[in-house]
Structure formats: C-alpha cells, structure tokens
Symmetry: C2
Subunit: 347 residues, 2 copies
DNA sequence: ATGAAAGCGCTAACAA
DNA sequence: TTGTTAGCGCTTTCAT
C-alpha cells in the first residue's frame, strides 16, 4: 500500500541512492535515468517519507509557533506573518495555543523539544514563562525567537516586538490633546513586560502634561478578552463617575469598555473616550470606531520568522549567529472613540 | 550536545532496548532499574527524539488541520475545538491556512501526505478542492475528516458540518416575521455547497411565505471578509433603494453590510435589517448587535477531531471504520439588527 | 528481567 | 554515473 524508496529502486533496477538523488534532481544523475525514475515514481504514486528524510538529514522543515490566544485577531495576523514567511522559505508551521496557561506552554515546549521542529517562534505567557524551558531550548541548540522581551533577560534572547512604551505615550498624549484629564488605565494584573511598558508610558505622558497620577483610575483584569473588558470596564465606570477617558491594554478590552459605557447609558466619545492597542480589524467598525495604537502585527510575525530562519541556517553552516533584538514602531490611528476636533463627517 | 537513547544506555551499562522500555514504564522492567534509568535520563537531560520514535512506530501523534481563513473568528473557534480534543488524546496539531486558494491547499495536502501526520481535519476550499488529492489521501490510507460536504461525494467521505439550509430557513423566516418583505441575499460566487444550501434555504423560506424571489436582490462576493461585505453591500444598497433586509452568508459579511448601510446614512434595523451566520463573538457588540444563525463552531472542530481520532485508532487496530456524516444543528440568536417587537431596552 | 539485532525510510560519504 | 553502506534514534521481536 505504501510505496517506499526501496520499492522504486527495485522496480527500476537501480540503487536506492541513485533513485534518491534522481528524485532530488541531483546533477550527478544522468538526465535519462532521472526522467525514467521520476516517471516511475509518479506511476507508482510514490510519496517520500518526511520522517525518513528528517531523521537522515536532521531537519524537519517545520517551525513551531506558540501563541497565547489565537482567538485574538492580533495574533491571527501575527500567525499569517509567520506562516507566509515560513512557506516562502520552504517551511511549514505548527501552531499551538497556550491560552495564557503556563502548564500548557511548558507541555507544548516539551513536545517541541523532541525534535519535531527546526526552530520556534514563541509568544511567551508574559513573565510566567518557564525560563527553565527556554534554557533547555538554548542548551539543546534549538533556535528560537521571542515575540516579547523577558524581564531581566533582554540581552539573553532574540525577540521582535513593538515599542509598547512609546505607543502608550502617544496614545495618552492624544487623549490629553483632545481635552481629557481624568484618564484611566486598564491593564493586566500579571505584571507582564508588555503591560508594564504600556503602563509606564501612560504614566509618563500624564506626568509630562502635569496631570497627577490617580491610582483609583487604574484597574487590572484577568484575561484579555472583550467580555473581560466589559466586566472590568463596568466596575471602573461605576466606581469613578468622574472618569472621562480610558486607555485599555488592547483593542479587545477597549471594545469591552465601550460596551460597558453603552450599558451604563454613556456615549462614546462624548461621555467617555476610549483608546486601545493593536488595531485589529474590528476596531474600524461604525458607528463608533476605535482610536488605537496600531502595531505591525504581520511584520512582527514575518520578521521574527525571518530572524528565526536565519538562525537556523546559521546553525547549519556553523556560522555564528548574534542575538537580535528588534523593536518595531507603533502608530497612532485616529478614529472616533477619543473625540476629535474636525467637523462631524457627513453620514 | 544532544543526548540519545544510546548514550543513556551506555552510561547505564544497559541495552538500548531496556532503557527504551524503562523510560516508557514497561512492566517487564524491574522497578529498581526503571527508577535508575529514569533518574539517569533526567540527569543527562535526555529528551527522546520524536523522529526516531515516529519512524519506528509509524505514528506521529500529530494531526493536520487545514483552514480556509484563520482570520475569521469562526475558524478560530473551530481550531480551538480541534486542538482541545487533540491534546486531550495526546495529539498535537499542525495548522495550515489555505486562504481559499486551491494551489495552496494542494501544496499543503501534498506536504501532509509525506507522513508527517496521523490524520487530517480538512476545511476544503469549497468545491474547488482538489479531489485528486483527497483520493490520494484515501488511497494512501491516511484518515481524514472534512468540515464540509463535497457536492456529489456526500457518501464518499466523512464530514462534520452544520445544517446550512435549515439555518437559512430559520433566519429568513425570522426576517419575514419581523415584517420584512424585500429581503436580499449576499452569497458567494464560488458556488460552494455551503453557500448553495444557505441560498436554497433562503429561497425556500421566501416561497413558503409567498414572497416572490427577486434575483435583483441577490449579490455575489469574492471573499468572505468584512471589507468585502462593505463593498458588495454598498453596491446592493445603492442599486436597490427599496430593499429592506439582507441575509448575508456570514457574520463578517453581515457586519460589512451594516457598515455599508451606515455609510449611506441608513439606520439598522430601522432602514435596513441584517442577518448573518456563525455568531462570531463580535456580533454581539453594541450599539447594533447582529441577529445571526449560531453555528456550533467549537463542536464542529472537536467532533470532527473525535471522529478522526477514532478512525486513526480503527486503522491501527485494523477495526473497520464506517464513514460518518454528522450534521449539527444551527440556532437563531436574536439580537437587534433585524428589528424586534419588544420595547426598546433602557439605555 | 535484560540483551542483541533487525528494521522504520531516507540521505550522504565513499567506492567502483 | 551509479552502487554500497553506514548511519539518523527509536521500538520491538526473539533470544538468553
């Protein structure tokens, strides 16, 4: 039922070596026999075994990717960036979802350690990530690139990320320019680096504008979903009726906050301004589109993958690979949720 | 650098066979040596090679999944269903995105054919799918389950899908009950079975209500995205000012149509009612939430995977596996986009 | 209870 | 230009 190289060799009265080379268009094989072999293989429906080949060559042409939440359109774009770059270079990608669960992440990395992939792009579960696992990866010489920097290990590992602090500064300043003063922040309790940086940027922008930081306007959340934004948002809005704007950790949460506002009879942006991060595609939806910090999602994925592939090839050719830290620029996308000074667009 | 079974065997003065069995807790191995081996392996940081094992056992414990558009939250849920069920049974999953591109699908299936996976869950590129590829899969004895039925091959292959026609009937009837008469339909030009069934249901519901089918109210689209819905929706709404409702092939398109309406100064649902399919999570967003046919996304994925795993195990134990066709029930979720008879909710 | 050895399907170095 | 052969790392009889 399953045809192997050996069978093709037998049928053709050639050796497996020759057939193997012929099938891979090795120039050492005579044109006529190459054609003959190709045809025969075709006729026999021969499909080479990736397993056999991988074991022999010590490479799989597969990249692993761990994502914290594939449900978030942000990561879906990152994935596309990864996959496109991978395919372009002859790799496939295995995607695994950690769901912000450390156990799951550890388990997934363990599986990847078993030599199924040539390298990994890792979106670590914030700072909970299993450092032991990363060390293990490094020790085993499996190339990987992170999609986040790890606190205290900025110099140790390669990563590609966006400038979170800068993004937060720009967004907060924009809110201030729009005339808002009591600006709240909804960030994570996990103390991840990403959140930490954004929070820092938020505070810095406030300080620069001479607005006193008010801890009562800050709320933490447990997940990064729309429904969590709704829940936490309601809490914050009810506790602080004087609030007039919110910076949310990401668009999903921001959208949730907007929902919260509506549910409390508040209008956006008239009664409450809201800003987010990511610029996922639903953020542009009417009637109140979300002003947000656009992150280069696709590029995050593609550049991380590019870097990874380079590392893989460096390893193969024993060329030394230096660690790379790439920080991409965020960009403010002004829509309607933060208010605006231009005339009301015609509808 | 990389520790192999053989090295562990050497260090322990045992044979590779014994070590192999010990590590897998084979009862034939004496407890004391089992412990000894486990400890030694741990100490040496031994990680078994999945490749070696797979080649020997002829199984990878990996499932392949092809998805037409990972950007669509619908598929993101399906993926989670697949992955959860896979993990629960000791499998990992390789996800590939076909982007509704036949070439890409063929290439992806070819790669999967090379024995990298134990089985496949395939969301075929509608009816363009490469039947030759499916036949090949079948011939090679690689188990697979489809997430769609294929025209003319309903009996040939296993699939898990939702009852599209029924869903369309329910939705259209709901629109009619809400008092709408000039109900348009936005479906695909590709003549996929899914679309075909929904279109059929739509027409059937109209007929049953004594509403004459009006081809001028039907538009086809090229992709399944929000922006496509916006584009096509604008066209339809401008061409037919008399239209008062639209059934869209999916929520993304429906959301796009709503955007189109807003951009033309139409209110939803007062001036135009809109209904969709899928019930993706953004459909519940205010201020105008989308009435839609909820499809059991997660279950679609998990049940397909369950079925697949059963087929894989049937194959291993040479137990015959019957073909399974599973059709899941759709459910109408009434929100605001189609109008409603209840009082306006308090805001 | 453990060891020896064949084999899974392929590649690559070396011979011929 | 092609054949031979030794692995790649593991599992699994069959002996012992």
């Amino acid at each position: 039922m399953k045809i192997t190289l050996e069978q093709v060799a037998k049928k053709s009265n050639l050796s497996t070596g020759t057939v193997s080379m012929a099938l891979r268009n090795d120039p050492r094989i005579k044109e006529s026999t190459r054609k003959y072999v190709l045809e025969l293989a075709q006729r026999l429906n021969y499909i080479p075994s990736a397993l056999g080949r991988s074991l022999a060559t010590q490479k799989t042409q597969i990249l692993g990717l761990t994502i914290t939440d594939i449900t978030n359109p942000f990561f879906t774009e990152v994935f596309k960036g990864v996959e496109d770059m991978a395919v372009k270079n002859g790799y496939s990608v295995i995607l695994s979802n950690t769901e912000y669960d450390l156990k799951r992440e550890t388990e997934i990395l363990r599986i990847f350690l078993e030599g199924r992939v040539d390298g990994l792009v890792i979106d670590p579960v914030e700072n909970n990530t299993d450092f032991a696992m990363l060390k293990q990866l490094k020790r085993m010489g499996i190339p990987f690139v992170l999609l986040r920097k790890l606190k205290g290990l900025e110099k140790e590992y390669d990563y590609v990320m966006a400038d979170d602090k800068k993004g937060a500064i720009i967004l907060t300043q924009h809110l201030i320019n729009m005339g808002h003063r009591r600006i709240g922040y909804i960030g994570s309790t996990q103390c991840g680096v990403t959140d930490h940086d954004r929070f820092l940027g938020y505070k810095q922008a406030l300080a620069k504008a001479g607005i006193e930081f008010d801890a009562g306007l800050v709320t933490s959340h447990d997940s990064f979903s729309l429904s969590e934004g709704l829940k936490v948002g309601r809490g914050l809005l009810q506790a602080r009726k004087d609030i007039d704007a919110v910076v949310a950790f990401n668009d999903l949460l921001a959208l949730g906050v907007m929902e919260a506002a509506y549910s409390l009879g508040l209008r956006v942006p008239e009664d409450l301004a809201v800003g987010g991060f990511d610029d996922i595609y639903i953020s542009g939806l009417s009637p109140v589109s979300l002003t947000t910090i656009a992150l280069p999602k696709y590029e995050l994925g593609s550049r991380a993958t590019e870097l990874l592939i380079d590392k893989i090839e460096a390893k193969r050719s024993k060329r030394p690979a230096k660690t790379n830290q790439i920080v991409l620029e965020p960009k403010l996308v002004i829509r309607r949720s933060c208010g605006h000074k231009e005339k009301e667009e015609q509808r």
